[in-house]
């Protein structure tokens, strides 16, 4: 069982600067991480992320979410209890620790005009025993 004190919480940012473009982010998990078990997406402009965002996410060269997976499905608002905001993905081995994100911005009538925004990815891993 994991407790908060043995969970590694990491934050990675991707800057979305132009509309209707794919941005790639490549990050590395903490070397003390053993299994990745959850993630969460937020933004400094949540409406843009909610309506315009979709992404593919790979960890250790294993596809977690396929291309066109909408960002809104990985977001949590204040209406969700803090302990339940993380999207659980099972226990994914750290392996080489490489996290790759292909974030795609797509125009949407409910989030126009486009303004640059930041996609913030939080990753939660269990620490090595």
């Amino acid at each position: 069982m994991s407790y908060k004190h043995n969970i590694i919480k990491e934050r990675f940012d991707i800057a979305v600067t132009t509309a209707d473009t794919v941005f790639k982010g490549e990050f590395e998990l903490d070397k003390n991480a053993e299994h990745l078990f959850g993630l969460l997406l937020t933004s400094d402009s949540e409406l843009h992320l909610y309506y315009r965002g979709s992404q593919k996410i790979q960890v250790n060269d294993q596809e977690l979410f396929p291309e066109d997976f909408e960002a809104k499905l990985l977001m949590s608002g204040l209406g969700v209890s803090p302990n339940q905001r993380v999207v659980r993905i099972g226990n994914v081995k750290r392996g080489n620790g490489k996290v790759e994100v292909w974030f795609k911005d797509t125009s949407h009538p409910s989030a126009t005009p486009f303004t640059p925004y930041k996609v913030i990815l939080y990753l939660f891993s269990t620490v090595k025993a």
């Binding site: 396929p66 066109d68 608002g77 204040l78 209406g79 125009s107």
Partner: protein, 145 residues
């Protein structure tokens, strides 16, 4: 091993009825979750009443079992509060924001053992959009051998 499969269809006419087939990977063992939603395409206005988020109905079935395992209304996901009354009350005082009303979407849990690698579906548009042009997204959570 888990894998998420996304099947998309473009709906372009009011009252469209669509029969669809979703090919699954050869190594599939069972389907463990379903989620469906729509995304309006750029330049297309939404319904006159923003609380009217129903877009249509979707049925999914396994042909070998001749059985429907998923049937639900498909909605246009938006950031507004789910309760119409609260929404109206809030609307007068402030613009509703996503972080306030935000929920977390979860897959509808199912356990559907699959032998053939095909799912059949039927979708009917029931939206009240002035112009119908949107993408139907069906997410399937798969458990692979």
């Amino acid at each position: 091993m888990h894998k998420i499969l996304i099947h998309t269809e473009e709906i372009t006419a009011n009252g469209s009825k669509l029969q669809l087939q979703i090919k699954l990977p050869e190594t599939i063992e069972k389907v463990t979750g379903v989620f469906a939603g729509i995304t309006r395409l750029p330049g297309v206005a939404g319904p006159a009443d923003p609380a009217d988020i129903n877009a249509g109905s979707l049925w999914l079935r396994i042909p070998e079992l001749r059985d429907v395992f998923y049937a639900d209304r498909v909605q246009e996901l938006n950031h507004l509060l789910p309760e119409e009354a609260i929404q109206e009350l809030m609307g007068q005082a402030m613009q509703p924001e996503w972080w306030f009303s935000g929920t977390r979407y979860t897959f509808f849990d199912v356990t559907v053992p699959v032998e053939d690698t095909l799912i059949e579906g039927f979708y009917e548009d029931e939206s009240s959009f002035a112009t119908v042009h949107y993408r139907l997204n069906i997410y399937l959570n798969l458990y692979l051998k």
